[in-house]
């Protein structure tokens, strides 16, 4: 039911782990739902995402979307990265099964939270 691309990101996740000494941290989801994602980012002085990593508890879709969102965000400015939507992530993965669109595709939310966290720490907005 998963696309090849999803399976690739599930089997070979990119940017898995935690950025050391992160500039922003976003955690979304809930273990009771079976999905938790934690995104850590390092931001350079042009407000570009220099490094990004994820840790995810969740199903195949949750892990693949996490991996994909880190790839999409890396190198982007915070403003650009904030524009990354659930749908863009799903599209980049060649689509997700309908029942997964919703619940296991929190990665872009995690990214937004990490950016928010960065901003609140650095006073920008």
């Amino acid at each position: 039911m998963y696309s090849e691309k999803v399976m690739d990101h599930f089997q070979n996740p990119r940017n898995m782990g935690e950025v050391e000494d992160p500039d922003g941290v976003g955690e979304v989801g809930n273990p009771q739902c079976g999905d938790v994602m934690r995104i850590t980012i390092k931001v350079d002085d042009q407000e570009r995402i220099e490094d990004i990593k994820f840790k995810t508890l969740g199903c195949g879709a949750a892990i693949a979307t996490s991996s994909m969102v880190t790839e999409m965000a890396k190198g982007k400015t915070l403003g650009e990265a904030e524009e990354i939507s659930k749908k863009m992530v799903a599209d980049a993965l060649g689509g997700l099964p309908p029942q997964k669109m919703h619940c296991s595709n929190l990665a872009s939310d995690g990214l937004k939270k990490a950016i928010e966290d960065y901003r609140s720490r650095h006073g920008s907005s």
């Binding site: 998963y2 399976m7 599930f10 089997q11 070979n12 996740p13 898995m16 955690e27 979304v28 989801g29 809930n30 273990p31 009771q32 739902c33 079976g34 999905d35 938790v36 994602m37 934690r38 840790k55 995810t56 508890l57 969740g58 199903c59 195949g60 879709a61 949750a62 892990i63 029942q99 997964k100 919703h102 619940c103 296991s104 595709n105 929190l106």
Partner: protein, 413 residues
């Protein structure tokens, strides 16, 4: 890709090659309908009657009390709705448990929508109900007690004979869903003291799409299907001759093999259980340790999610590795937002229920395969835990007292 290791035998089994062989001629050589009088019909009739006898022998039934169906789902629907309809004037109360397969739960739910009342007896932490609890729940208007013999997910075997004694004494019809036990452990309808019993061929090396309802003579149960005169006018439709022949052959094989097979399976099962308990921290065996199907292993694994365990096992990346096919009670697989209601019924915390994995053996699995599976499972768990933002060794979430409320997953999404 190397040969897969199939450990999802509670879902379905490989049709035994001997069964397939026996079915073959009934497709394009001996294709008459058993309802017809000419030789080609008469031989089909004889074949399905032989199958009926073989099944009767397996479950200690009178051959005249067996009705072939399209599977256990149909048999359960027939038993439950048919008894409810036949006895509606006597009462509209039904008793079951809160840990049943959807093929039994959903007919009950449907009746609830239509004016029946259903009591869902809570199972204990091992998945068991007691005869006393059933006795206490029986009311004057109770017409049916219905439950599984062996639980498909956690493997727990209910004390059916003792419950049967209660229902017999109280004059309440007792239906047993034996889809997981027939062919695997001794099932004798006389000993179980039940009135109706469902089974499905593909759960014990027979073909998919065929099963049976055993109905004690004199039990009042309205047919589910109406039509031609087949199956003593109680289950119409042209007989699925090859399927029924296959069911009969599977019953015969089961009768011969069951004892030695069960012994072997129990050994492999316990080998897996011990292996997992030794090899992994923060795991929980689901279901009863003693009252357990010979082929069922079910664990919740802290800090990770079941679908990702399942996918990792079944789509391995390393060159030359064997896919391992298992199932999980995770919500991601059930297609709902809730994990398995059966695990929740045991009191498994919801986050642990998401992280469950079920391994169910067949007589074709070997000790070597189990070794391979254990090793692979350990690697997978290690890797997924290393990815998990919440897992910390020993800090078991099981103990946090979180219960099943408060999972507003929809809103979170």
């Amino acid at each position: 890709m190397k040969d897969p290791i199939f450990l999802d035998n509670a879902a379905t089994t490989r049709t035994d090659p001997e069964v397939v062989e026996e079915m073959k001629p009934w497709f394009d050589e001996r294709y008459g309908s058993p309802a017809t009088l000419y030789a080609m019909g008469a031989e089909a009739k004889q074949a399905i009657e032989e199958a009926r006898q073989r099944l009767a022998d397996l479950i200690g039934a009178d051959v005249k009390e067996i009705y072939f169906t399209s599977g256990a789902t149909e048999a359960n629907n027939w038993a439950i709705k048919g008894t409810a309809e036949a006895l509606a004037s006597k009462g509209k109360h039904i008793i079951t448990t809160n840990a049943e397969h959807h093929a039994l739960l959903m007919p009950c739910r449907h009746l609830e929508k239509n004016g029946w009342e259903v009591t869902y007896l809570p199972v204990d932490g091992e998945g068991l109900v007691t005869p006393e609890a059933v006795a206490d729940a029986i009311r004057d208007d109770t017409v049916l007690v219905t439950m599984a013999h062996g639980n498909h997910e956690i493997g727990t075997i209910q004390p059916i004979a003792a419950i049967g004694a209660v229902t017999r004494e109280r004059g309440v019809t007792f239906h047993v869903n034996a889809a997981q036990t027939v062919g695997h452990v001794p099932v004798d309808v006389a000993e179980l003291e039940c009135d109706l019993l469902s089974l499905s061929a593909h759960k014990f090396y027979g073909p998919k799409g065929v099963g049976a309802l055993w109905m004690r003579r004199g039990v009042r149960t309205t047919p589910l299907l109406h039509g031609g005169g087949q199956e003593r006018k109680r289950r119409p439709g042209t007989h699925n001759v090859p399927g029924i022949v296959g069911l009969g052959k599977a019953a015969q094989l089961a009768r011969n093999r069951m004892q030695s097979e069960a012994k072997k399976l129990v050994e492999l099962r316990d080998y897996l259980i011990e292996g997992i308990e030794k090899g992994l921290d923060d795991v929980r065996l689901n279901g009863s340790r003693s009252e357990r199907l010979p082929n069922n292993v079910n664990f919740s694994i802290e800090g990770i999610e079941g679908e990702s365990i399942m996918l990792s096992l079944s789509y391995p990346t390393a060159e030359g590795s064997r896919p391992v096919y298992v199932s999980t009670g995770s919500a991601c697989v059930s297609g709902t937002l809730e994990p398995s209601h059966i695990l929740l019924a045991l009191g498994v915390p919801v986050e642990m229920a998401h992280g469950s994995v079920r391994l169910t053996l067949s007589h074709e699995n070997t000790r070597e395969e189990c070794d391979y599976v254990l090793e692979t499972l350990f690697e997978v768990v290690e890797r997924l835990r290393s990815m998990s933002p919440v897992y910390k060794r020993g800090a078991s979430k099981c103990a946090t007292g979180n219960d099943n409320d408060g999972c507003d997953c929809e809103a979170a999404g």
